[in-house]
């Protein structure tokens, strides 16, 4: 059941009506049942995997709360969480590389790589489970009732592709009797509509054109490669932030407040700031559960921190997919973050107090331009099907293969990508004004009519452009 399907809207409406018409004590049970139903619509068998991991984490969390002095129980618990992820996601990758290594060393090893179906959302619920055990180990209160933990783990808006929620962000909300205000309902519906619009009207439309350029065996010219690269940057932003919008909006309808996952990432004036605005719950996870513990363990060698930054980002890349392209993408970003703190510190560090308004603006523009360019060039690694394809894309870009003549894209596609990029830029520039004028408690009647017109236009656009629902990019992780 894809978020942008009619089936999901029906499901959401039914659960919403049932939820608010039943006594509070039954509501969490309803949400658990609905979440498992939602998950089972993809493959019911993996519902048992989710249930098994959940029961283990709940029981182990309670056990861990009494063993906070020793490291070994925590390590064991984390390993148990990682085993399904390693098996389902990385077996093929590991075996393929092992076979390649053996062959390269002169041995002949023919290996039938098993075809393992990846359970949807496993990367997300594994990270959530690890975070829970670590947080409990460092002193967070574990969930006492299994029912509450099952909801924390399986609540469908965040189950498949995040936001990666940590126990302290949601525990109180699960335990309390939740309420919604009219503002919550308005917020929830608005975010769901924004998500639908971003996904159906923008991301899906972009994907059709961009897929053709990144297809293995396609021979794009330089112009195609440039537009496809920047186009994919837009596609993945609109796709994934759409998912987060629908997740956050859906949760709010049931009284839950989820953390934000995106905060205008393409307005970031430095790579470091980019990672505080892009997939925020993941970068926070990587920082708190990978980078900080490793850095802390080598705190007597501060220079190693930069190396750990690189390693943490490589792990972040590998988390996205069992391919070297993702590892390279992670390393690219790791290197950018290292440069951000060393050689290019001068470009990326902005200090409002020390700079005049004009100098600040120019420095911001330079930092933003470099960041935007580098982040988008990295998307080639993320999107390409293998390293060979990625390298041929880079070759096409940097040699401007074929001059100004496209080999794959039509001019209307390029115009579309340009229009989306400019619209996003305009929104970023107008954001402060929009936030002040549209966020008022008592909006002007003209604002009400204006909003109604905009929302209606968005709904009509979603209906008209929704020829078929496409899966979200982040489902593959």
């Amino acid at each position: 059941m894809i978020f942008t399907s009619y089936t999901y809207l029906l499901f959401l409406s039914m659960v919403f009506l049932l939820y608010w018409s039943m006594p509070p004590r039954w509501r969490n049970v309803l949400l658990i049942a609905a979440s498992y139903f939602f998950y089972s619509t993809w493959d019911w068998r993996f519902g048992f995997l989710l249930l098994g991991i959940s029961v283990f984490n709940w029981a182990y969390g309670r056990f861990l709360a009494t063993r906070q002095e020793a490291n070994t129980p925590l390590v064991l618990g984390v390993l148990v969480n990682l085993v399904p992820l390693l098996y389902f996601k990385y077996t093929g990758f590991f075996l393929t590389n092992l076979a390649a290594l053996v062959t390269a060393a002169g041995g002949g090893w023919h290996l039938d790589i098993p075809k393992i179906i990846l359970p949807l959302g496993i990367s997300f619920f594994t990270f959530q489970g690890v975070a829970y055990l670590v947080d409990v180990w460092v002193g967070e209160e574990p969930f006492q009732r299994l029912r509450d933990f099952l909801l924390f783990k399986a609540f469908w808006p965040q189950l498949i592709a995040g936001p990666i929620i940590r126990p302290h962000e949601i525990a109180d909300q699960i335990l309390a009797t939740r309420h919604v205000t009219q503002a919550d309902l308005a917020f929830g519906c608005q975010r769901i509509l924004f998500g639908f619009f971003k996904k159906v009207v923008i991301a899906d439309a972009l994907s059709t054109y961009i897929d053709a350029v990144f297809l293995r065996g396609a021979t794009p010219n330089g112009v195609d490669a440039i537009f496809a690269t920047f186009g994919f940057g837009l596609q993945i932003y609109f796709d994934f932030s759409a998912y987060s919008d629908i997740a956050i909006g859906s949760a709010r309808l049931f009284g839950f407040t989820f953390p934000e996952n995106f905060n205008w990432p393409y307005a970031a004036p430095s790579p470091q700031e980019f990672w505080t605005r892009w997939h925020m719950t993941l970068s926070r996870w990587i920082r708190d559960y990978v980078f900080t513990p490793i850095s802390f363990s080598t705190r007597n060698y501060p220079r190693l921190a930069l190396l750990w930054l690189l390693v943490a980002m490589a792990i972040c890349g590998l988390w996205h997919g069992a391919q070297w392209t993702f590892v390279a993408w992670g390393c690219w970003h790791g290197s950018l973050l290292v440069l951000n703190q060393t050689a290019l510190k001068g470009i990326f560090t902005l200090n409002r107090k020390k700079l005049s308004k004009g100098a600040y603006f120019i420095r911001y523009l330079i930092g933003w331009g470099v960041t935007y360019l580098m982040v988008n060039l990295a998307w080639v690694l993320f999107r390409a099907q293998d390293m060979t394809s990625a390298l041929s894309m880079y070759r096409a870009i940097f040699t401007l293969k074929g001059g100004l003549h496209p080999a794959v894209m039509r001019e209307n596609t390029m115009v579309f990508i340009g229009v989306v990029a400019l619209a996003l830029l305009a929104l970023q520039v107008a954001r402060p004004w929009l936030e002040v004028n549209l966020g008022q408690q008592r909006p002007h009647p003209l604002h009400i009519s204006g909003r109604a017109l905009v929302y209606t236009a968005m709904i009509v656009a979603v209906i008209v452009f929704d020829t078929s629902s496409k899966a979200f990019v982040y489902f593959q992780f």
Binding site: Q182, L185, A186, L215, P220, V415
Partner: protein, 387 residues
């Protein structure tokens, strides 16, 4: 205002809700629905003008011998495919020229109807599978669809090859749906991609990518439920029912905007996009190989063009295309004909204020059918006679 389940009814009565944005949105959507109802006829006519759907058919016709949904809902027309165990079967595939009739009059027939009438006496039936702007990946899908139905296994696959369709890629939603809902078709599609991966790497990768895209969204069971739900919503809301018409009109407007921006006219010379061209070349070769492998005789012809109308082809590229196609047919022993100049200029219609270079009047259909029978009739067992 804090609301629990006990206060839900009070929220519904809240005047901020009644006189706020939600009520206005609902009112505006109802207004849009009324507009759609009043535009419905015009929208359908516009799609017909753009050849995205076929013109209304004579309700008294007794036989259906082509996919009248023109690729949007082929599933509905598959039961009409003649039973090839009872006689021989020819499939005629191609783009909108196959079904579009300029200045249509009642009783006018299209190419495949002429062919069927001419071939039936000799025990051969003809069935048309066409779609607007159909390209070679879609033509391959049409062929594999017939091969996936044992009783529709054709003897001949005649394909009207159109040069400018070599710039198109991607399966249209209707055909994606077909691929997603017929497991046997998906299976032979995947098999063909894997079997020809080395010979036609680009086409094979594209086939696998198309299948992956379909499978990522269309899970078994859910499709039917989602489809049924959409149909149900469409039966209640005119806006949803007309979404394809509205989409086509919107896309048409956007294309007109593009044409205006880039000064593109139907006669503007449009260089072929090389990567797309090469992909379509591989697909055309694969169609021939898949057909031969399954004991289906492929037959290719270059479609007729209006000799008086200027077309958007770059002459050198079009000439190279014809040479390549002829060589391909020689190399693979595919019966081939160039029907480019077959239909005299007086039998063509008008398009966007100028002579239509690709769609003709009813006479053009009869002449093209005659030409096909003349060129390939002996092979088809007709001896070149048209009815």
């Amino acid at each position: 205002m804090v609301t629990s389940h006990l206060k839900l009814h009070t929220m519904v009565r809240d005047k901020r809700l009644l006189f706020g944005v939600p009520t206005l949105v609902i009112f505006l959507l109802i207004l849009v629905d009324f507009c759609v109802i009043s535009w419905q006829k015009a929208l359908t006519q516009q799609r017909q003008q753009n050849l995205l759907i076929s013109a209304p058919q004579d309700p008294s016709r007794r036989t259906v011998n082509w996919d009248m949904s023109v690729g949007e809902n082929l599933e509905q027309y598959l039961p009409y495919l003649p039973d090839s165990s009872m006689g021989r079967l020819t499939i005629l595939a191609g783009m909108s020229q196959m079904y579009a009739i300029n200045d249509q009059k009642p009783g006018d027939r299209i190419i495949v109807e002429h062919l069927d009438a001419a071939l039936s006496p000799s025990g051969m039936r003809a069935f048309g599978l066409a779609a607007p702007n159909m390209h070679n990946e879609e033509a391959l899908l049409m062929l594999l669809t017939t091969l996936s139905i044992p009783k529709a296994h054709p003897n001949y696959f005649i394909y009207g090859v159109c040069f400018d369709k070599f710039r198109n890629v991607d399966l249209r939603p209707g055909l994606q749906r077909l691929l997603g809902t017929r497991p046997e078709l998906a299976q032979i599609w995947r098999d063909a991609a894997l079997r020809y991966r080395n010979r036609y790497p680009k086409a094979a990768e594209k086939m696998l990518a198309s299948l992956a895209a379909v499978e990522s969204t269309q899970k078994k069971g859910e499709v039917t439920f989602e489809e049924r739900l959409r149909s149900k919503v469409a039966s209640l809301l005119p806006l949803v029912a007309a979404r394809q018409d509205l989409n086509a009109v919107t896309m048409g407007q956007l294309f007109e905007l593009r044409n205006w921006m880039f000064h593109i006219t139907p006669q503007s010379k449009r260089p072929i996009l090389q990567s797309r061209y090469q992909l379509n070349q591989e697909f055309l070769e694969m169609i021939a190989d898949v057909a031969n492998e399954n004991h289906v005789q492929p037959i290719y012809y270059v479609i007729p063009l209006n000799p008086l109308a200027r077309n958007p082809y770059v002459p050198s590229q079009y000439a190279a295309f014809k040479v390549w196609l002829q060589q391909l047919c020689q190399q693979k022993a595919i019966p081939f004909a160039n029907l480019e100049g077959t239909v005299p200029s007086k039998y063509w219609g008008e398009f966007m204020g100028g002579p239509d270079y690709k769609h003709f009047r009813a006479e053009g259909h009869a002449i093209t059918a005659q030409a096909i029978l003349r060129e390939f009739g002996p092979l088809l067992g007709n001896g070149g006679r048209a009815q």
